[in-house]
Symmetry: C2
Subunit: 144 residues, 2 copies
């Protein structure tokens, strides 16, 4: 919460101007752990920052992504989701509820052996794989 917290430091380190909007957006992204959409971030930040515009959220997240500070996760058809984790990992999307979960890169079976000729047989690294399926929650008895 100090004026020179890690969020501010992060922006500085990236050579980006430290604006209240950027600080609020980046802080919020770290607070929302569940891969929020731009709209999700917007609604949350807006509570403390009513003048914030959705345009700025998109712009800021894009800028942060260019600087490797956040990651974009494209899930089929739906809106883009943002991830504050920047270390190598993959994602699983529930095609029913849309929730997103992290999949560690070290999954046995994923990193080992798998090679794709189209990609020159290099194994997929960080944020390169999206799995689609139905999550345990949506598969349970009480599913509509």
């Amino acid at each position: 919460m100090s004026s020179l917290d890690s969020t501010t430091a992060t922006l500085r380190r990236r050579g980006l101007r430290v604006t209240p909007q950027r600080v609020a957006i980046l802080r919020t992204l770290h607070g929302l752990a569940n891969h929020p959409s731009a709209e999700d971030v917007f609604r949350t930040v807006q509570r403390d920052f009513p003048s914030l515009s959705l345009t700025t959220v998109y712009r800021t997240l894009e800028t942060l992504a260019e600087h490797g500070e956040v990651e974009l996760v494209h899930v089929g058809g739906e809106r883009v989701r943002f991830d504050h984790r920047t270390d190598p990992h993959h994602h699983a999307v529930c095609t029913v509820c849309g929730r997103l979960a992290d999949v560690e890169e070290s999954q046995p079976g994923l990193a080992d052996g798998l090679s794709i000729p189209f990609f020159g047989n290099e194994r997929p690294r960080g944020n390169a794989v999206v799995f689609y399926g139905v999550c345990t929650g949506c598969r349970s008895p009480a599913t509509a």
Copy 2:
């Protein structure tokens, strides 16, 4: 090319009315092997069928997908792609040129061992995985 070819038979089998639009679209989809978008299919069919509307292409491909006759492939951000292969397999997308390649489900390392708790540890089956990367073509020396 006969009036009762496999395309027509396919539509009949699915209980769908056999219209010239549907025949042309399904035939074209089988002709375009590279996972075309609705727009790609539209442009191709339109050459022989100028009155065809893009709406019909979307509608027909959706209908065929519901009947398991084609598969939708969502690739990050871009338009949806359609696949005439309906047997279980996955996909690899080049993030540079957008080209799509098939990845066999029997890939050693993909089907074996891999389990995702979020999905109840079931291994991913048919059309459930999308790999992102840069294809060999886009990685070569002559890349712009």
